[in-house]
């Protein structure tokens, strides 16, 4: 069995973290570019290779039609859901997409879970390079306000990346785990989480018991379409308008220049978190430069509508448990966007206390995911997370109304039983429509699944079918039905209305996972071979030098033996064997290395007096 990690699959950036056994604290793993943040950007190069992260982000400017960002906004959603998104984001959605959205990257089409799986796979690679061991299990975080379809899509992405998803954990809950471990907080905690594309508010109760610490989520609320991206969009729209007015240049919001401008504006936004004013210098296609001085006041005025939008869900989350802002013992800020001074000020004013910002808001969710991964990996622990379902589960009743069967903020796992019967003689099926949401009419709620209960022919009203709806610890729905008269169980496959079906997942898996399993071993072999080659070259160089004469014959024979053994292993495909032989050669050449080193030092010092050194 491989290692288990925690992953924050974010709208803007994704991270991978693990629990460091030595320090007992979670740690984020840096990627090849030194940063722990992997931009959630995926690009398909003309040769058909998938490029993820920083290099893909660079391609946003050079190859925008082959590159996608913010794909999280498409997870678990249908074509009709994303019309607003399409106006603001350069998603090239395949018009023939029916239930599942397909996005065009160059000449290929991918679903949102597939694109997310590329990001997950990249993070998996980072972790495997870090551990030198395979990684096959993960806890992945999702916005607390994600619905069933969005959760299922995230779980599918994990599967496609070759990861067993041990648990989907809500992002604010994960953040509170990280803080709880760090600060030893107790009492009522409000977690305000403004990410790139989603906003979540969670109210938790941290309880110390004899068995350990319990993190009990009391209520969550949020908006899955509100985030830092919206701030960037406002800024961009404002500057587009300015450029149009002053320079009469109108460029498509999806083009190369727009991406360049967006990048500059994000940098400007970050500057304004640190200082009171910053100037934009932007080269225009007509050779002129657009200059504009932004003050923090201007930025605040521009983004206030977005910040104000976050307060309504906060009030709702508190009202659901009849709590008042001033009752919170702690307030925690999560998500890079919360670095914005206006947000900090607004949150502080609302709760009447200074929010915690000790942990890096970009990393805190991944750190919490690592804590939960560690808890699950070990099976039993002194920490327990009790989460809730963010949205009410309901069934469509007569006239398109919704009968709620599991109210929002119910602790999960949660279940409900409903009894069904027939309305006409010899009816053989009963249609069930499951919905999620707070509205009273089915058309205003999120359609989760439709299925038909099989009924044996009988007079109307006689059959009794008991249907059990169960929301598991991941917030995902399971349905089971039983004929009460015969005791016969019915298997019901519930796939979200906008999700991938099993056959589609199976096909995608065939395309990706199997060769990915080889991937790890292959990569390890390549890396081990490269290392073997460089050590073999260094050894033969050292042996060829005159200092090698100082090596005793017996030792020389040992080195030759180790060299031969290593060369032999390089021809094989067993990276563990190559590593072992590398270690053996390293061990055999310890004395040789010392001799070479000493000689190198004395050569360097030759002709120099001690005083010159």
């Amino acid at each position: 069995m491989g290692r288990t990690v925690g992953i924050d699959l974010g709208t803007t950036n994704s991270l991978v973290a693990y629990m460091d056994a030595q320090t007992g604290q979670p740690k984020c793993i840096p990627g090849p570019y030194g940063s722990t943040l992997c931009p959630s950007v995926v690009s398909l190069d003309p040769d058909g290779n998938i490029i993820v992260g920083e290099p893909a982000r660079k391609r946003l400017l050079t190859q925008p039609e082959r590159t996608i960002y913010s794909v999280k906004r498409l997870m678990g959603r249908g074509v009709s859901d994303i019309q607003d998104e399409l106006k603001l984001f350069p998603f090239r959605v395949d018009v023939a997409s029916k239930n599942v959205i397909r996005v065009q990257l160059g000449e290929k089409k991918f679903t949102a879970p597939e694109i997310s799986s590329f990001i997950l796979r990249e993070l998996k690679n980072w972790a495997e390079a870090h551990f030198g061991e395979p990684v096959d299990r993960a806890v992945i975080t999702v916005p607390a306000y994600f619905n069933d379809a969005q959760r299922q899509a995230t779980k599918d992405a994990g599967k496609l990346a070759g990861l067993e998803v041990l648990r989907l954990v809500n992002e604010p809950t994960a953040a509170s785990l990280a803080y709880g471990l760090h600060e030893k907080q107790r009492g009522l905690v409000a977690v305000y989480d403004l990410g790139g594309g989603t906003f979540d508010i969670s109210i938790l109760k941290l309880i110390s018991t004899d068995d350990g610490d319990i993190y009990q989520v009391l209520s969550v609320n949020g908006d899955t379409h509100l985030g830092g991206d919206d701030i960037d969009n406002l800024l961009q729209a404002f500057v587009h308008e300015q450029i149009l007015q002053h320079d009469e240049i109108d460029f498509s919001p999806h083009g190369e220049i727009a991406q360049e401008l967006r990048k500059e504006l994000i940098a400007l936004k970050h500057q304004l978190s640190e200082k009171e004013s910053a100037t934009l210098h932007f080269p225009l296609p007509n050779g002129k430069t657009f200059e504009f001085e932004f003050t923090r006041g201007m930025l605040d005025a521009l983004i206030r509508p977005v910040v104000d939008c976050t307060i309504t869900p906060v009030k709702r989350a508190l009202a659901d448990k009849e709590l008042k802002p001033e009752q919170m013992d702690e307030v925690v800020l999560v998500g890079g966007t919360t670095r914005t001074p206006l947000i900090r000020r607004t949150v502080q004013e609302f709760f009447g206390r200074a929010p915690h910002t000790e942990l890096n808001p970009d990393e805190v969710v991944a750190l919490g995911a690592a804590v939960q991964a560690n808890i699950l990996d070990r099976g039993v622990s002194n920490m327990l997370l009790l989460d809730v379902t963010p949205l009410s589960l309901g069934i469509e009743t007569y006239g398109g109304a919704v009968g709620k069967i599991i109210p929002r903020n119910s602790p999960i796992p949660a279940s409900a039983q409903e009894m069904y019967t027939t309305g006409v003689d010899n009816q053989t099926g009963i249609d069930i429509h499951v919905l999620q949401g707070e509205r009273e009419l089915a058309k205003d709620c999120r359609s989760l699944a439709r299925f038909t209960l099989k009924v044996p022919p009988a007079p109307a009203g006689l059959p009794r079918i008991e249907v059990k709806f169960l929301i598991d610890a991941n917030g995902i729905l399971q349905v089971a039905a039983k004929d009460v008269r015969t005791g016969e169980q019915q298997q019901i496959e519930v796939r979200p209305s906008y999700g991938l079906n099993d056959a589609e997942i199976e096909r995608m898996l065939e395309e990706s996972i199997e060769y990915a399993e080889q991937d790890f071993a292959e990569r390890q072999v390549i890396e081990a071979r490269t290392e073997a080659e460089s050590i073999l070259i260094a050894t033969s160089k050292a042996l060829a030098g005159e200092q090698a004469n100082a090596v005793p014959t017996e030792e020389r024979a040992k080195i030759d033996g180790a060299v031969a053994a290593l060369k032999e292993s390089v021809a094989e495909n067993d990276y563990k064997l190559i590593r072992k032989r590398i270690d053996e050669l390293n061990h055999a050449t310890m004395n040789l290395a010392e001799i070479v080193m000493n000689s190198a030092i004395s050569t360097a010092l030759k002709g120099k007096s001690v005083g010159e050194v």
């Binding site: 041990l166 648990r167 309880i207 018991t209 068995d211 350990g212 319990i214 009990q216 808890i375 699950l376 990996d377 099976g379 039993v380 622990s381 327990l384 997370l385 009790l386 109210p407 119910s410 602790p411 999960i412 796992p413 949660a414 279940s415 409900a416 009894m419 169960l470 929301i471 598991d472 610890a473």
Partner: protein
């Protein structure tokens, strides 16, 4: 911390699926089933109304989904007035008339029925305590049935008033 919550947390430690990630599939299934039952029970018992509903259900005094929608006699007059006001508001709205005066009257009615809802909740809690006392004292079936009937009556009254409050609030929100 109340004893209900304490018991809930204790059992959560034992049953939560987090403890069974590495266990057999059978154990995982069982943990999912048991922890969902625990959570459902906690949810029901924590909410005073759901708790009474559940009690009446297990005592066989109330069938699932059964709700009487008759106006309690002592409220008839007020309910009649309220419905009239609601009709007037709807008519005025469709005719595009000034609504402020009618809204104020409905808001007063909303507050009035809101208060009645609070009253019936208080009464129901008192009766629930009577029930607990009767059970503790080992009261006979007849005595229990009597309390049960009162609880049932409170519950019906409550659900009727609650529907009124909700419909008024909805009408006001749309006006």
């Amino acid at each position: 911390m109340g004893s209900l919550e304490q018991k809930f947390l204790q059992l959560s430690w034992k049953l939560h699926p987090d403890n069974f990630v590495n266990a057999s599939e059978e154990e995982q299934e069982l943990s999912l089933k048991r922890s969902s039952e625990l959570n459902d029970a906690y949810r029901t018992l924590k909410d005073p109304v759901a708790r009474v509903e559940y009690l009446l259900e297990i005592e066989g005094e109330r069938k699932e989904g059964e709700k009487k929608q008759q106006a309690p006699p002592e409220l008839l007059e007020e309910v009649f007035e309220l419905n009239e006001s609601l009709d007037e508001l709807r008519e005025a709205k469709s005719a595009g008339l000034e609504l402020d005066g009618m809204k104020a009257r409905l808001q007063a009615a909303e507050a009035n029925f809101g208060q009645k809802l609070a009253e019936v909740d208080t009464e129901m809690q008192a009766t629930a305590r009577d029930w607990d006392a009767a059970v503790d004292a080992g009261a006979d079936d007849a005595a229990r049935k009597k309390i049960m009937a009162r609880l049932n009556e409170h519950l019906n009254r409550r659900s009727y008033i609650r529907n009124l409050v909700v419909s008024v609030a909805k009408e006001l929100a749309e006006a």
